[in-house]
């Protein structure tokens, strides 16, 4: 194998300064090239220009509500799984005493208090992974600096609750997936509801089997 340094002939017979001149040639090429080649001009003039954020980018979590009412449409049912699984324990939930109907019409608890301390949150996304109700998702807003570091960095339920339209705007692909999944669950639940009264009809409606054949059991699912 050719020793990689043998490529540089200047090292086998150096004239003092050739290495430095070679380096300067590289910088000169980059400098002049930045006028012509877009790739060599890499500085983004923030805040006038901003790089577009990728779809998957995550910063801090937020709660989703369907529709327009941030209380009635809130998907969170205060099951406290995200609070338990959060590694730095930055979520604080207090369950309500009464129930309200969720998107499928079933009465569920809701969180009376839902606080996330974003000075502690490390944006690990585990709360999103373990939520069984698609109620908490990752936001993309990162310009959140405040002047006070304790209560100002505590986001309460009103700050956290954002509508599903907002989620569709910031993460269209993920929001579409979540919407289809929830629609499918709602459909399956509706089908089950419709199938249950049908099975409650008396069994005599079924045709009586022939005498020699064994009785086929038509157990409703």
């Amino acid at each position: 194998m050719q020793h990689p340094l043998q490529r540089f002939n200047s090292l086998t017979n150096p004239m003092i300064g050739t290495g430095i001149l070679k380096g300067m040639a590289v910088t000169a090429r980059n400098f002049v090239g930045s006028y012509f080649d877009k790739e060599r001009l890499i500085t983004v003039q923030y805040p006038e220009e901003r790089n577009p954020l990728p779809e998957n980018y995550r910063n801090f979590p937020f709660l989703i509500y369907d529709g327009d009412d941030s209380h009635a449409g809130l998907r969170c049912v205060a099951c406290k799984i995200c609070e338990k699984e959060c590694p730095p324990q930055c979520i604080y939930i207090v369950k309500s005493e009464d129930k309200k109907p969720d998107y499928m019409g079933k009465p569920q608890f809701y969180p009376k208090v839902f606080d996330i301390d974003i000075s502690v949150c490390m944006s690990c996304q585990i709360c999103v992974e373990v939520c069984p109700f698609e109620a908490i998702k990752m936001d993309k807003d990162f310009e959140l600096s405040t002047r006070e570091r304790f209560d100002a960095l505590l986001m309460r339920k009103d700050d956290l609750a954002k509508s599903n339209d907002y989620y569709r705007r910031i993460s269209p692909i993920d929001a579409a997936e979540v919407d289809t999944k929830l629609a499918a669950t709602a459909e399956a639940a509706a089908k089950k509801k419709a199938a249950a009264p049908a099975a409650a009809k008396p069994v005599t409606a079924a045709t009586p089997p022939a005498s020699n054949e064994p009785t086929a059991s038509r157990a409703p699912s």
Partner: protein
């Protein structure tokens, strides 16, 4: 390498021992925790005789967060984001080492596509780590920012890849037990292939900028020599060990994660000095590009996570396991002891930077103060890993 020594004899450094007329008392200097070149909050108590180092004691612990105790109090999944913050430059490889140890502990299998994705991301991490190390080393040597910005330009491209895949540039939290969290879309793979194809051009540019430069050669050759016996005994791993000539790379020895399927060479150095350590990184970047190209070719379709693994209430069986990988800085290992509960009983990180610092004193004795910074830069330490 021998060609350069003969022809650069004119730049040979002066003899180290000073005359007996010039003996004085030792001056104790603290190259203190706030220093632009010590790669984080790291302190060295140096006893100097003039400019020559006579004693050096490293002091660290300024970034000690007791990560191992946090690991005992958090669940197995909850520790995964904390491993990102160990060696904060290379979060993907930290995640992989932890996931590997848990998979060894619980006997979990990983699907093929997930293993290939892990290799791709680990090699991308290695590329951006070595590039930033070269930038930082040259920054420490006095090239104010230019090579650093060149290295960071490439690093930004790779970090943008990580951002579009896992959601975050540095704290990726990407691996899970039994696979990966998010699948790589064909657009992402095409974009990654484009970046990898253009990477050799950057390596070539960096070589022209650095490797032939006389100042770099004069400051790094014969500085901080390590003999292979000392390196093996002191538990040095990674590019620093291979610069001494010892052929030990965990990717080849353990053969974890489908590395045996890829053809790649291990560059070895001859002298064990700083220049060899620098060149190790440059050559390893070239090898990583080769592995990446092969991985992109061979990437199969399929599931990316083992569906049998529970996300919540994950309880591995009672026992212990030690899993290790070749992180860009050395051998990163996790030693886990499970007592059957949701939290590990003992969670230990084997940090390569911490152990590579053992022979800092041996390397710096007899050299000047200016060399200390160069030697420290070439060991490649990150305080998040040294202190945990």
């Amino acid at each position: 390498m021998s060609a350069t020594i003969e022809t650069l004899e004119a730049m040979e450094r002066p003899p180290v021992s000073m005359g007996s007329r010039l003996e004085g008392e030792l001056l104790e200097v603290s190259m203190g925790p706030q220093h632009p070149s010590t790669h984080g909050v790291f302190r060295m108590n140096v006893a100097l005789e003039g400019e020559i180092v006579r004693k050096l004691k490293p002091v660290f612990g300024y970034l000690h967060r007791n990560h191992e105790k946090i690991g005992e109090n958090a669940s197995y999944l909850g520790s995964m984001p904390y491993t990102d913050r160990l060696d904060y430059f290379c979060s993907m490889t930290n995640n992989w080492a932890y996931a590997l140890s848990v998979e060894k502990l619980a006997g979990i299998e990983v699907p093929e596509r997930a293993e290939y994705l892990r290799v791709i991301l680990a090699e991308l991490t290695r590329l951006q780590n070595h590039a930033s190390l070269l930038g930082f080393l040259l920054n420490d040597m006095g090239a104010w920012g230019t090579p650093l910005m060149y290295a960071f330009r490439e690093r930004e491209k790779i970090l943008d890849l990580f951002e579009s895949l896992s959601g975050s540039r540095m704290m990726c939290d990407y691996m899970r037990f039994g696979g990966c969290r998010v699948d790589a879309s064909p657009e992402w793979l095409a974009h990654a292939r484009k970046i990898v194809d253009r990477f050799p051009r950057f390596i070539h540019e960096l070589e022209q900028l650095i490797v032939g430069n006389e100042i770099v050669i004069a400051r790094t050759q014969n500085v901080g020599k390590v003999s292979p016996e000392l390196a093996i005994s002191a538990g040095i791993t990674g590019p620093m060990l291979r610069a001494c000539g010892v052929n030990y790379d965990v990717r080849k020895v353990d053969g974890y994660g489908f590395y045996p399927r890829f053809k790649f060479r291990i560059p070895l150095g001859e002298h064990g000095d700083t220049y060899d350590r620098l060149m190790m990184r440059v050559l390893e970047m070239g090898e990583s590009v080769g592995i990446l190209k092969q991985a992109f070719e061979q990437l199969p379709a399929g599931p990316i996570i083992n569906p049998k693994v529970k996300i919540r209430a994950f309880r591995p069986p009672v026992g212990e396991a030690y899993g290790r990988i070749e992180a860009p800085k050395g051998e990163l290992g996790f030693y886990l002891i499970s007592d059957g509960g949701p939290n590990p009983y003992r969670y230990r990180v084997r940090p390569p930077s911490f152990i590579n610092l053992t022979i800092l004193e041996d390397m710096c004795l007899g050299h000047t103060v200016a060399d200390v910074m160069v030697i420290l830069g070439s060991i490649d330490i990150v305080m998040g890993e040294v202190d945990r």
